[in-house]
């Protein structure tokens, strides 16, 4: 069901309006059996308050496409910022949000300078690990003197 998969993937993330849940790598599977569409989604940050909104938006999109949705959230294997697609990373960058570094085996220290999404300089400093949403940290660029946000790698 490529058509329905694309529809589900194109649902917007409520907190990052320029990104879809497909860009974020949250859609694990779409399986259609008659009129029933079973959607498996993995949540991002455990504290993400958008999860219920995403469920409602996915259900609405599936109903619009003529199916009866069964949306399941699955934890295993856990989501990571490595699951964000190249398109998603490009959209973050275009929105002035530094994309997350690859995580490898564990959390990425926030002490490593994040390249400035505006001018590309690595002369940047972390100002706070906690921003306007659970997934973002705040930085300032010493080259272009602009503050910016980064997507925290987990």
């Amino acid at each position: 069901m490529t058509g329905l998969l694309d529809i589900v993937r194109s649902v917007d993330d409520p907190e990052l309006p320029h990104l879809t849940i497909g860009d974020l790598g949250m859609v694990r599977d779409v399986a259609v059996d008659g009129r029933i569409a079973r959607i498996r989604i993995t949540p991002t940050y455990t504290g993400c308050p958008a999860t219920e909104q995403i469920r409602a938006d996915v259900e609405a999109a599936v109903i619009d496409a003529g199916y009866e949705p069964v949306v399941e959230f699955e934890m295993a294997p856990p989501w990571s910022t490595d699951d964000i697609s190249p398109e998603g990373r490009a959209k973050l960058h275009a929105a002035g949000i530094a994309p997350p570094a690859p995580t490898g085996d564990g959390p990425v220290s926030l002490d490593l300078p994040v390249p400035c999404p505006q001018c590309g300089s690595r002369r940047t400093r972390l100002t706070s690990a906690f921003g306007a949403t659970a997934c973002k940290a705040l930085h300032v660029c010493d080259a272009c003197r602009q503050p910016f946000e980064s997507f925290k790698a987990i």
Binding site: T46, F130, A134, K152
Partner: protein
Amino acid sequence: MAADLFTHVLRQGDRALVLSHRLAQWITHAPTLEEDVALANISLDLLGQARHLFTYAGELEGEGHDEDHFAYWRDASEFRNPLLVEQPNGDFAVTIARQVFHDQAAVLYWESMSDSGDTTIAALAVRARNETAFHLQHSAGWLIRLGDGTDESRRRAQAAVDAMWPFTSELLGADDEGALRADGLIGESIESTWQVAVADILLEAGLERPTSIEQRTGGLHGAHSEHLEPLLHEMQGLARAHPGATW
């Protein structure tokens, strides 16, 4: 009686929920706007972890209880959180000392649980560890700045460390979870690693590590300090006044 996995998961959920509520009490009162945002974010992460843990506790218990049941419809004696997290916020130094002790334990706990034989907890552990690493970076950074700051900030930081220290042993594991460990459901003891890591942070902060202070325990078995009940009264009031309310 040996604790079962349900009790273990409930203890972790209660720890996360009660500390989440304590941190939420700082909102609009934190020393700076950035700190207000930071404490709110940490609170929200802990709330998210608590929700996952309570949902899973409900599945393990098998009596149809959901996350709201565990959060809103139990009394203080039914909560299984360590005493540390229910301690009042005090001044900012007390909140930070409490948070450093907690975050260091939480990072090590989730790390040890990523190999759990229970796949549900193991999956949650990977994400919770990474989130909690950010919390520890924040709280430890503050404790070091307070300890290494002015005479007054150092005095308050040391007083806070001394005040929170008696509540730390309970963070490092329960006395009745040996069978869970033998079955590979919970990880190795985090105690020695925690002691070393916390000693390092205190050293960097220029603060004394308390030694001869008697430990206080009981929260993991439902024997709480006088501070939990008022906290629950505040947290549960709305849900109990309007059962089943939604917005």
